[in-house]
Symmetry: C2
Subunit: 344 residues, 2 copies
């Protein structure tokens, strides 16, 4: 089997570290791994599986001889440096939002629309974490029942805001327990004007708002990316909320389908969906929860039930570790799928 | 103005204490206040506004001469003792679920369906906390746009599980911060078989499940109570989730209306809804959050926006202190409304 020279851009971040772990855990066939980051992190040593990796500075020339690069260093970094990597002949799997809606860039969840990979022109976009777990859970249901609309409310962990988000939740929790005022510096959105405590609170803002339509960018990602991945004009209404959970996004998903819901068929489809674990046994209080699946690559689905007032309505509760299925694992899985399809 | 002899049943609980506070804060005209609880709490002294109250044991004879009793000691206590209070001529405002769906008992949110109070036969039921804040927020929108269906996902504070729920969240948070395994004893539901940590987690179970339809009792309360309060066959689909928040429920509410949504009219109606505060200015990141409104009696509404794919769809984010508007304040407000209507 061919082995590849790979690079991870943004290797010191929360997702970059998981990318390195996924490459080992899911046996991505590598000959070498180059870890790239900003000049500030260059020279840092990252140890993994008894190997030492020295972080190098990302430059325009970093991609000579690299076969595949995984990107998670922010949209502006991808915007600036991916074109150099493409020119160098490297295939780029980008976890930032920058290329996602570009009509020339496939936006891929392998088990949902892996075939779209055939149209790649050197760049493949990894969807937003909230979108990935939702479309993965709904894929077989969409094929069979033809989903016409989705109404989703999210319960998103602070790790979506990186290491700083996790540190903020820990610190604020300690402050509240000590009877102090929690200090907010990062959440809901580092680049927005105001910050609010997330400890013992829910913040109905993830990313900045579009002041024209009053949806947040995160909500619009779910709307637009779902249409692109399912390749149909599906109606999507999203409300994205940050909750005081460290890692793992939960989603309350309601779908309305063209065909009436047959609940036995729903369970059969979910039991046979690639990448999905049906975790639903109410008599034994079995349903997915964020704290059960840290570091796990699957999408977990429970609380599956028919709408009592609508024969075409179905509710589901969908949980995944967004750093894994929502980012690092899906990116690495795109690479594995491309090898399987003979595209790299 | 007439002054009333009142009683609070369940006076030592989280809601009972707020009832006492609301009676003072909202000037309920009382001549005397009798605090009732189980034999275990009898003799306890509760101090409030420089007055000392001695808790008495609840018995069948507790209601002689009492004009109005506020109940929040659990459904089985209301079931057993309310009939004795009715016989004694006392008017009973019951915060438990026991009488809510009884066709002979008005289920009331004063600003929504206060007129239903005229049909009372000695008992008035206070709706479930999650229902109250939702129907209060939606009332004027329903009058004008005619709501046909509601899809709601909740973010419920642990105080819904009483003082034990709050203590559990505090203790578990400390355990996690110290690197220990959090111990779960109460949540998601004290009377169910298994308990799960709520600290840094979301639990998609509030109350026990109906194994026939796979909805939880809490979800079915929202479904059935909303139909009764709005007095129409409105479609309601609810997903109820416990989150690591101490006090204050948040709700992601999606409505579909018969009349198309006119967003300016929506804002005008919400700005003129009794008991509702419109808290929505995205440019300045103003939206309701649970931690802003502890001890506050209003229902706060923000993130109001039209569905981009459906001219008859609207999203809202609704936050209230469920011990206040969701329980104690709404109960006391029912009493005040009955005085105003000449019913007591």
């Amino acid at each position: 089997m061919k082995k590849y020279k790979i690079a991870i851009v943004g290797a010191t971040g929360a997702v970059g570290r998981e990318m390195l772990r996924c490459i080992f855990q899911f046996n991505f066939p590598f000959e070498s791994i180059k870890l790239l980051a900003s000049a500030r992190s260059a020279g840092k040593i990252i140890e993994f599986e008894n190997k030492k990796f020295t972080v190098e500075e990302l430059t325009e020339d970093s991609f000579k001889g690299i076969d595949v690069a995984f990107w998670s260093a922010g949209g502006s970094i991808s915007e600036k440096y991916v074109p150099f990597a493409v020119k160098a002949g490297c295939i780029n799997i980008d976890n930032t939002s920058h290329f996602r809606m570009d009509p020339n860039v496939p936006l891929v969840v392998p088990e949902v629309n892996g075939e779209a990979l055939r149209n790649h022109k050197g760049i493949i976009a990894n969807p937003n974490c909230t979108t990935i777990q939702m479309v993965s859970a709904l894929n077989r249901l969409n094929e069979y029942f033809d989903i016409e609309r989705i109404i989703v409310s999210t319960y998103q962990a602070v790790s979506g805001a990186g290491v700083a988000g996790m540190e903020e939740l820990y610190r604020q929790s300690q402050e509240v327990l000590e009877g102090k005022e929690p200090v907010a510096k990062t959440l809901p959105c580092a680049s927005d004007k105001k910050h609010f405590p997330i400890a013992f609170n829910c913040i109905p803002q993830v990313d900045k708002f579009d002041l024209d339509n009053h949806f947040s960018k995160e909500e619009m990602k779910m709307v637009n990316e779902t249409k692109k991945i399912f390749n149909k004009d599906i109606k999507v209404n999203a409300t994205c909320v940050r909750v005081p959970v460290l890692r793992g996004h939960s989603e309350s998903v309601y779908i309305e389908t063209k065909k009436p819901i047959d609940i036995d068929k729903v369970f059969e489809l979910l039991n046979n969906s690639t990448g999905v674990e049906l975790y639903d046994d109410l008599e034994n209080q079995i349903y997915p929860m964020a704290n059960l699946f840290v570091g796990d690559e699957l999408v977990h689905v429970g609380r599956v039930r028919k709408d009592l007032d609508n024969p075409n309505g179905l509710s589901l509760w969908v949980v995944a570790d967004q750093l894994m299925k929502g980012a690092a694992y899906n990116s690495v899985d795109i690479g594995l799928k491309m090898i399987e399809m003979g595209l790299i």
